[in-house]
């Protein structure tokens, strides 16, 4: 049985109270919303804060609404709410699908989109009990100074494993962040950094309060698909998010392709404008995009899945995703292709 360590639990009613608590206990405090990532991580001894600040009782963090030409999703909206919300489904169906494919129904009933954006990176040698990690001499990310993935490595390569951020980045989303010092906003594309130990530009005393997506002026097609060992419960081992502006007949005006679950941050595939913009989505263009993705993706042994196979799957799934995007309008992946069971 895995037990939690003792801590003081705070239940603020307002955002102001929450950020003040985070400042007051700086260095020894973490925020908790759904807790679906933090609770098991605490049970594994990966985080042992003396204080927890609970966010679910803060009204300002809830709700999904259209405001000033944007879709605003409060950080404490559960993944079930995001997956089933009519505004999300209407404007960004692939975001609803990304949320609907996370883990399994119980996690989605509890976990939040803010938590998904701030999900801790994952690695075979990290997401283990204290006993397990100790037996191996710990690792760079927690308690140790060696990397078991890259021998002699000095940089942690634990994988960004969250489902909604790749899709949100492809959609050009912005995150709102609050702290006792004030509020700021960052494009999600600039939010993540390639450091597996702490992969987000978010100070420990800061909170993600909302994510905003500009409603598209032109019709867009969006698609999210992923590979995982089982079609439920598991984190992705490869995830692909696509957002494209397409004008008839099938001419791409712009395309954003974000691939994740390989390294410490989601990777926006570069150079697609040259390959695809203004062109029809022909077999040749699809192939060129798939090749470009393959060149830029280099998975590591942070998950026990053969890395050559994982890399080889990148163009395969990009190709399938593009074909789905072409054939199914706004992009619904065909069932049974390795995406979530949802």
């Amino acid at each position: 049985m895995l037990r939690l360590h003792p801590y003081v639990y705070h239940r603020p009613k307002s955002l102001k109270e929450a950020v003040d608590l985070l400042r007051e206990h700086a260095g020894d405090v973490l925020p908790i919303a759904g807790g679906t990532d933090l609770v098991p991580n605490m049970k594994h001894g990966l985080f042992t804060p003396g204080h927890l600040v609970a966010l679910k009782g803060i009204d300002e963090l809830h709700g999904i609404e259209e405001r000033d030409g944007e879709l605003l999703i409060g950080a404490a909206a559960t993944l079930t709410e995001v997956a089933s919300n009519y505004l999300v489904r209407e404007h960004f169906p692939a975001l609803a699908e990304a949320a609907a494919g996370i883990a399994h129904p119980m996690i989605r009933n509890q976990g939040t989109i803010g938590g998904n954006i701030c999900l801790d990176t994952r690695c075979t040698y990290y997401n283990q009990t204290y006993f397990w990690r100790k037996a191996l001499g710990f690792c760079l990310k927690k308690d140790g100074d060696v990397c078991h993935v890259v021998k002699g490595g000095t940089k942690c390569v634990a994988a960004h494993s969250a489902d909604t951020p790749p899709m949100l980045i492809a959609l050009g989303a912005t995150v709102d962040i609050a702290s006792a010092e004030g509020a700021r906003s960052v494009p999600l594309a600039d939010f993540f950094v390639g450091d597996g130990i702490w992969n987000r530009r978010l100070e420990p005393h800061e909170l993600v309060t909302a994510v905003r997506i500009r409603l598209p002026e032109k019709p867009i097609r969006t698609l999210y698909t992923k590979v995982r060992e089982r079609k439920s419960v598991d984190f992705p081992i490869l995830s692909i998010a696509l957002a494209a502006t397409v004008r008839d007949p099938d001419v791409l005006e712009s395309i954003d392709l974000v691939i994740s679950a390989l390294g410490a941050k989601p990777r926006a595939i570069g150079g697609l404008d040259k390959i695809a913009a203004g062109k029809r989505l022909t077999a040749e263009v699809i192939e060129a995009i798939a090749e470009q993705a393959h060149r830029q993706c280099h998975p590591l042994d942070n998950i026990i899945v053969e890395i050559e196979w994982r890399r080889a799957m990148v163009p395969v799934y990009v190709r399938r995703a593009l074909q789905d995007l072409l054939e199914n309008g706004r992009g619904k992946a065909a069932p049974g292709d390795g995406r979530g069971s949802d």
Partner: protein, 208 residues
């Protein structure tokens, strides 16, 4: 200690291992149980020691208790309320043995802090009984032989109950999707899916 829980510990059955452990737990806890039929005395107040007062409504009964913030809902249900139908499996949100309904929604009790369940309506597998009779989902699991070892079964039953409360007539795809957070290492999935279909029929034909 309330009359009702005191009676349970001093019953004529003598001291079982479970009631002994329960008494030990209650010593640090201060449980006040309010039965629907027997209004209990005032809740026992414990001096502030980092515990939080919470009110849990479990299977229609109200429990006022003080919990440590590090106790999960599963810890409280099993170790302090003696509702051991809800099982401890992986302890980290991967298996579903600890599934309970919180405000009608299926959730993992091992991932939910007891303080987070304050004021919520909780249903465990014990709450699906109709007196001494099995509820329709339990009855369907028996009829369809939907288990081998049975360890995951309470979680499966509660997940199925949660599904059927929201959708009284789910198709197979919906059942597979909504039951996907409950693993069965014996692999009794086909029978479990049949049992959920059967449970849907039984629920419709039962008036309760």
């Amino acid at each position: 200690m309330s009359e009702e829980s005191g009676k349970r510990h001093d019953s004529k059955r003598g001291v079982s291992r479970r009631s002994f452990l329960g008494t030990m737990g209650a010593g640090t806890l201060g449980v006040a149980v309010t039965g629907r039929t027997a209004p209990a005395r005032e809740a026992v107040t414990v001096e502030s020691d980092g515990t939080h007062p919470v009110t849990l409504r479990v299977n229609g009964r109200r429990f006022d208790l003080r919990v440590e913030p590090r106790w999960t809902l599963l810890d409280v249900l099993r170790d302090h309320l003696e509702l051991t139908g809800t099982k401890l499996g992986c302890s980290r949100g991967e298996c579903g043995a600890c599934t309970v309904l919180i405000d009608e929604q299926a959730r993992y009790a091992c991932m939910t802090l007891a303080v987070e369940a304050d004021g919520r309506e909780i249903t465990t597998v014990e709450g699906l009984m109709h007196g001494e009779e099995l509820g329709p989902v339990q009855q369907a699991f028996v009829e369809e032989d939907a288990f081998q070892c049975g360890y995951c079964t309470p979680g499966q039953v509660v997940a199925a109950e949660g599904l059927l409360r929201g959708n009284p007539d789910p198709d197979l795809a919906e059942i597979q999707k909504r039951m996907s957070g409950n693993l069965c290492r014996c692999g009794a999935y086909d029978h479990i899916f049949k049992a959920v279909r059967r449970a849907a029929e039984l629920r419709r034909s039962t008036t309760h």
